[in-house]
């Protein structure tokens, strides 16, 4: 089930809100159990058989959390349990996500003919597995208490707002909130507002610019991609992935607030970054900080000299790439950021002042080219696409380009404008003391929300990119 669907909006969400705030209002434990059941239902609706993978992950990590809590003063035991935790969770993710890829590569490198099993990827496995690891490690580090009640751990791992596409909520962020959160109408209202913003990002912008990206990549498959369309497609995909993913994060954060949870931000206008280092501080923040705190720092971070720091950075970016998918395109994509971030660090480009336009241009160029690689099914296809972007002189402007501009120019312009903090700044402007622009924006927001529902009623193109991760 996706948030931007009629069944979620008209059946699931009202039902959960109704029971949560009426029938189960007086008892936090029952509320949590109800949210857990709803979350498993939410997950099971899309992937019934994989509910058991999710439940077993919750159960095993709950037990590991209890054990590590019991032996928290015995370092050796703790390290052993941490090792078990990592092996167990990464095994799950390896089997479902990377086994086929690994075997394909073994066959190709060693010329073997190992039979490759067809394994379906459970939706959101990378997200809930990382949350599960976070639970045990945070308990070990004393950043959150071990839950005696397995339902609470299960709720933390499988809470439907963040279950299938993040943000990756750290246990330390919500450990207190699970039992002691404070719902209020102000928080609820803020959640509704955030949900609507995310919904608009997803349905009105991401889904429409996605069509342009699909046209471009489709044209490439058919061998008639023009230079202009290649650029337009790459820019459209750049907008799509941002509005798709940040829209989903907004909806998740908003839904969390509706039930009294406060999640951390996951995006902060990444496309205004002046370096790729800054970009990754603004893009998918929960993943970046997860890798920093659970991989980079435990590996030693920058404490053991430059060579070790670069090695650690390399590992983190290779893993970041791999986390996004079992394909060399993702690994290379991650490593490109390793190179750019390392160079920025080496030459202190990320701390340089001035040349803002040039730095933003460099950052966005790298990011856009990175997304081309990210979107392509293979490195060859990505290189071919990039070649057309720079050297496709044969057919510079074609009908596909003009037609896409005619049909989708508004979405592209709106996408570019709203990927900057301009709306946020405008909302603070006051007109004639009485009415703030924010009120007008709120009214516009609700009207656009109705328009977005009309897009759903019409059954418009509605994919979700980050479900695959």
């Amino acid at each position: 089930m996706v948030f931007s669907s009629l069944i979620f909006l008209t059946v699931f969400l009202p039902t959960v809100l109704f029971f949560y705030y009426t029938v189960f209002r007086r008892n936090r434990t029952i509320q949590n159990i109800f949210l857990l059941i709803a979350s498993l239902g939410f997950y099971g609706y899309g992937e019934p058989k994989f509910v058991f993978v999710l439940i077993s992950s919750c159960l095993v990590n709950w037990i590991l959390g209890l054990i590590i809590d019991k032996f928290k003063y015995n370092k050796l035991y703790c390290k052993l349990i941490i090792a078990i935790t990592i092996v167990y969770n990464l095994s799950i993710i390896f089997v479902f996500k990377y086994l086929m890829f690994t075997m394909q590569n073994i066959n190709s490198v060693f010329g073997t003919e190992l039979s490759i099993p067809e394994i379906t990827l459970p939706i959101g496995i990378s997200f809930f597995t990382f949350q599960a690891i976070s639970y045990v490690i945070d308990v070990y580090r004393g950043h959150g208490k071990a839950q005696k009640n397995p339902f609470n751990v299960a709720l933390y791992i499988s809470f439907f707002p963040q279950l299938v596409a993040g943000p990756i909520v750290r246990y330390e962020t919500v450990s207190e909130q699970i039992e002691n959160r404070q719902e209020s109408f102000a928080l609820f209202s803020s959640g509704v507002n955030r949900f609507i913003v995310g919904f608009l990002k997803k349905v009105l912008i991401a889904n429409n610019v996605a069509i342009v990206a699909n046209i471009a990549y489709g044209a490439q498959v058919q061998g008639n991609l023009s230079m202009s369309m290649a650029w337009l497609g790459a820019i459209a995909y750049t907008l799509q992935i941002y509005f798709d993913f940040s829209g989903y994060s907004d909806m998740a954060i908003g839904l969390g607030k509706m039930f009294g949870f406060k999640f951390k931000e996951n995006f902060n206008y990444p496309y205004i970054s002046q370096s790729t280092t800054e970009f990754w501080r603004r893009w998918h923040i929960s993943l970046g900080t997860w890798f920093r705190d659970y991989v980079y720092i435990p590996l030693g971070g920058s404490h053991y000299g430059k060579a070790r720091m670069y090695l650690n950075t390399f590992i983190v970016w290779a893993l970041t790439g791999l986390w996004h998918g079992a394909n060399w395109t993702f690994i290379i994509w991650g490593l490109i950021f390793f190179v750019s971030i390392s160079l920025e660090k080496q030459f202190k480009l990320d701390k340089m002042e001035g040349h803002i336009v040039l730095r933003r241009f460099y950052t966005m160029l790298l990011v856009i080219l990175g997304w081309v690689l990210f979107r392509s099914p293979s490195i060859d296809i990505a290189l071919d696409y990039i070649k057309t972007m720079f050297f496709g002189f044969g057919n510079i402007v074609d009908y596909e380009f003009r037609n896409s501009i005619n049909e989708y120019i508004y979405f592209i312009i709106i996408g570019i404008v709203f990927s900057t903090p301009i709306a946020k700044k405008l909302s603070k402007v006051r007109l004639r003391r009485v009415i703030s622009l924010q009120i007008l924006l709120t009214i516009a927001e609700f009207i656009l929300f109705i328009l977005a529902i009309s897009y759903l009623v019409k059954g418009s193109y509605n994919p979700f990119i980050y479900f695959n991760f």
Binding site: S189, S190, S454, V457, K458, G459
Partner: protein, 397 residues
């Protein structure tokens, strides 16, 4: 101030989603109690999730309002391609006409041709000719009307089908050759908001069919009846019709069509039998009295939801037009909705016109022919039925 503003938005949000929830629940409950299908049956082969989503989609109230909101936004943005739940895309042609794209149906064409060949052989054995009449589709072959690079295979499908029939010795009459020969404009041939041809174009095509029957099969239909439109009253309701395509995008985006009923001024006398398989309803009187269905002829032109096209007696299992003032000829028309005005007008020049719709008529066509002995069997289809039961001439065996 900030607090209140967000509260208002939250209250509106809650009101909206709970209203939709109540409406969807109530409608689903009602449909279950009354045994009404909400369209979930049409996706029977899909997953249970798809069926649930289809139920929810079909019980969303105020779809017309949502359509208008959606259509208005598309119009404001000047869009020529509009996304649609059922059809993927709806195109707006350069003449302002809405068009459903037709997919490539190569996979079904051989099967259809085999079925047509079997029917032809069975009819041949009875000494009865078979004529396949290809109704035109909204996309002409000789002019690019859709946004460039639109994906539509209607003409390609029709060409393959007709070529295959010729190879198999089945007589064909391609109405595209006539209706698109330039004597009518695109907007005169098709409604802007509906996939059907205009009643005027169907009337004109009936003359062409009748002439073909006279020339090729030695019929003696009085084609003078069709050649002078002055013999008919043309009752036009301006801006009164929002067709099937228009209903999907709203009247603001799609506009409204004028609708003209064509009714003979000359004396007519009919006995029309409408046999739904369980009972027969018999109507008697003039063309207007016996054939025209008044349900679809509201005087109030503001009633846009009425399918005025069905006024010529549409969507029936079996219809028998008995023209009491004409003595010659018996015709069987196996038809889709494009045939609705054709059988009505054709019946003006033929003594007995039978029309069956294979979506509802589930018996063998050749057995039916053996029983009723028409002089010719005409299969008149539009191209967007490929892949469904329309070619199941053997019936449910």
């Amino acid at each position: 101030m900030k607090f209140k503003k967000k509260n208002i938005e939250a209250i509106l949000f809650i009101c909206l989603i709970f209203s939709l929830f109540l409406a969807v629940s109530a409608y689903n409950l009602y449909s279950i109690v009354r045994g009404i299908s909400l369209g979930q049956d049409t996706v029977q082969d899909s997953s249970w999730q798809k069926r649930i989503e289809y139920r929810v989609y079909n019980s969303i109230p105020g779809k017309t309002v949502f359509n208008e909101i959606f259509g208005t936004a598309q119009k404001l943005m000047g869009k020529k391609v509009v996304m649609d739940m059922a059809y993927g895309s709806i195109y707006k042609s350069k003449y302002g006409q809405l068009v459903f794209p037709v997919n490539s149906n190569d996979a079904y064409i051989d099967d259809i041709l085999n079925r047509m060949e079997i029917l032809n052989n069975e009819l041949k054995a009875e000494g009865i000719p078979l004529l396949y009449v290809q109704a035109p589709y909204k996309v002409p072959e000789n002019e690019v009307q859709l946004p460039k690079n639109s994906i539509d295979f209607s003409n390609s499908n029709m060409n393959k089908l007709l070529a295959g029939m010729k190879i198999r010795g089945i007589d064909t009459l391609d109405l595209r050759d006539y209706v698109f020969d330039g004597h009518m404009t695109q907007n005169e041939i098709f409604y802007n908001t509906d996939h059907h041809w205009r009643i005027e174009a169907a009337f004109d095509a009936t003359w062409y069919i009748a002439r073909y029957l006279n020339n090729k099969y030695n019929f003696q239909i009085n084609i003078e009846k069709y050649s002078n439109i002055d013999n008919y009253e043309q009752r036009t309701y301006e801006k009164s019709f929002l067709g099937s395509q228009g209903r999907r995008v709203g009247k603001i985006y799609g506009g409204l069509d004028d609708f003209t009923y064509i009714i003979p001024k000359f004396e007519t006398k009919f006995l029309l039998t409408d046999n739904n398989g369980n009972e027969s309803i018999v109507s008697e009187g003039s063309f207007e009295e016996a054939i025209m269905d008044k349900t679809y002829m509201p005087l109030d032109k503001k009633d846009l939801t009425v399918n005025r096209y069905a006024a010529y007696h549409g969507d029936n299992r079996e219809l028998i037009f008995d023209n009491r003032l004409v003595e010659k000829h018996k015709i069987l028309l196996v038809k889709d909705s494009f045939g609705i005005p054709v059988y009505s007008f054709l019946s003006l020049g033929v003594h007995e016109t039978r029309a069956i719709d294979l979506r509802l008529f589930k018996s063998s066509v050749s057995e039916y022919v053996k029983k009723h002995r028409p002089e010719i069997v005409i299969v008149l289809y539009n191209i967007d039925h490929i892949g469904n039961d329309m070619y199941k001439f053997e019936g449910d065996v």
